[in-house]
């Protein structure tokens, strides 16, 4: 099975649109996984029917028992995250800031601080008409997004029986959720666009991906909006030995498709033609039929 993640560095370049199109026209047995747990959008295009829902528990959080607390403030002095705050004349833990390290539990002379599990999100498995989907929802403001990505990938693997392709829609950025996404993949497709910000972000993302030894491909979305910067992206890819697997034109059909909640490749358009060509050249490189 080939494991492919669609990523972008910069947000909003069309990652999910491309991932959904590839899923739609892949023509191979596959399992889908939405690794953008902060803002999971793949499900908006595939109307999944949910099979399972489970709680996602991240690292524990501290809780102070007000009955035992003697107000000494030792925990406050030792917390490096500013997570212990004064509230109505007692010390309480602000879970938004608690990293779950357990230092407060250790230093409290009264044994008044306990670590408790906290639910940071939900993990789902679903069926779509293009294969099984593992996805998740991080509760707003929760940490542990990298951990949640790792968990949702595990669910995808458990659904992958008989699949030739695991296709992941990745998060933006280059931090922990991205690293958790790329780790263990065979290849990444970086969706970029012709803008100075996107090019800058592409270069940083390539540096990170190189550390994981994955094969790197690039797709340039809305390439015709600034042909000069598009040429700079292609020059960069050539210098770095990265295959530009496809170029997708700016096409109002893309927005229409997103608005009606379906992959753009469900109808004919210039973008659909370009996405088919992208699929063919990418799958040929990856040895997929």
């Amino acid at each position: 099975m080939i494991r492919l993640a669609v990523v972008s560095g910069k947000g909003g370049t069309g990652k999910t649109m491309v991932a959904a199109a590839l899923a739609d026209i892949s023509g191979v047995p596959q399992v889908l996984v939405d690794c953008d747990v902060d803002a999971a959008n793949l499900e908006l295009l595939f109307a999944p029917r949910r099979l399972t829902t489970e709680e996602f528990r991240g690292l524990m959080a501290a809780r102070i028992d007000p009955e035992r607390c003697r107000d000494c403030g030792i925990c406050v002095d030792h917390c490096r995250f500013g997570a212990i705050v004064r509230n109505d004349d007692t010390w309480t833990v602000d879970v938004l800031h608690c990293e779950g390290c357990g230092v407060c539990t250790y230093v409290c002379p009264m044994g008044a601080v306990r670590m408790e599990p906290r639910v940071c999100g939900e993990i789902y498995t679903s069926v779509t008409d293009r294969g099984n989907l593992a996805h998740a929802r991080l509760f707003p403001g929760s940490g542990n997004s990298g951990l949640l990505v790792t968990e949702v990938k595990k669910r995808a693997m458990s659904l992958a029986d008989g699949a030739d392709l695991l296709l992941a829609d990745g998060p933006p950025g280059i931090g922990c959720p991205l690293i958790a996404t790329v780790s263990g993949m065979d290849a990444v497709l970086i969706v970029t666009e012709p803008g100075v910000s996107a090019l800058h972000d592409l270069e940083r993302l390539v540096t990170v991906c190189r550390r994981f030894g994955v094969r790197i491909f690039v797709a340039i979305n809305r390439f015709d909006l600034a042909e000069d910067i598009c040429a700079r992206i292609e020059d960069y890819c050539e210098r770095e030995g990265i295959v530009v697997a496809g170029k997708i034109p700016f096409d109002p059909a893309v927005l229409d498709a997103v608005r009606s909640g379906r992959p753009v490749t469900r109808s004919e358009s210039a973008a659909t033609d370009a996405l088919r060509a992208l699929r063919n050249s990418l799958f040929a490189e990856l040895g997929l039929k």
Binding site: T13, N41, P172, P177
Partner: protein, 283 residues
Amino acid sequence: MKITIASGKGGTGKSTVAANLACTLSRSREVALVDCDVEEPNLHLFFPGSTVDVPVTTPVPEIDLARCTFCGECGNFCRFGALSVLKDRILVFPELCHSCGGCVLVCPQKAVREVPRTVGRVACSCPIPRLTLISGVLNEGEVQAPAVIRAAKLLAEGHPLALYDASPGIACPVIETLEGSDACVLVTESTPFGLHDLRLAAEVVERVGISAGVVINRSDGQDEETLEFCRERGLPILMTIPFSREIAAVQNRGGLICRDLPGWEERFAGLFDAIVKIAGVNP
């Protein structure tokens, strides 16, 4: 006064709103623009100039092997898997360390001390009069984005007016950026993705307890659902930027519409007035 510019979805135009707002304000007052999207900082592309760089370090454990008895206390305590104690050696994984200091506290031999480890840098510049640009840059392969964000914000302390450009998403980097802000501008686009992610971002801002308003970017006039959501949630619309190839072209090459297209400086000045109103503080 501190203003965060955020969005759930990436690529909605957060940085371009922040850059245009900062550029407009710098015509008449001192402003600090802080790039808190440390995974992919882009503001320096709008404001090129020479920078002074300050490294960002986080404390990580170093083991004094002369004292260590390999008792395993530190490894048992660490919840992040950054220390692994074997029979005759200790493996330290500094990139997993959250710098809580617990290993130093629990070591009965006082064999653990903390040493700084560089995870990124803050680049400071004064690219145009009255504008200080402070960019947090996370090193490639590192995960401690909040530490770099904290350092960048710290360098902006004391500025009477600071704009924080947040990263996309709804997780810890966004919380770190919002901390201490007087108001938050949520930049969205009126697509189902944009609205879905705006809902999440609005929840985060509400949880942190900061007043917020919305900027609709790349509007093609079909904003009804977004407007409806904002009405329900009591989020004022601070500004609407239409979709146009002319605007996209200016932004793609790293230009600023407040400088390059007529009428936009006035509109960004109006955006600031609207933000001041929701913040309810004296700028």
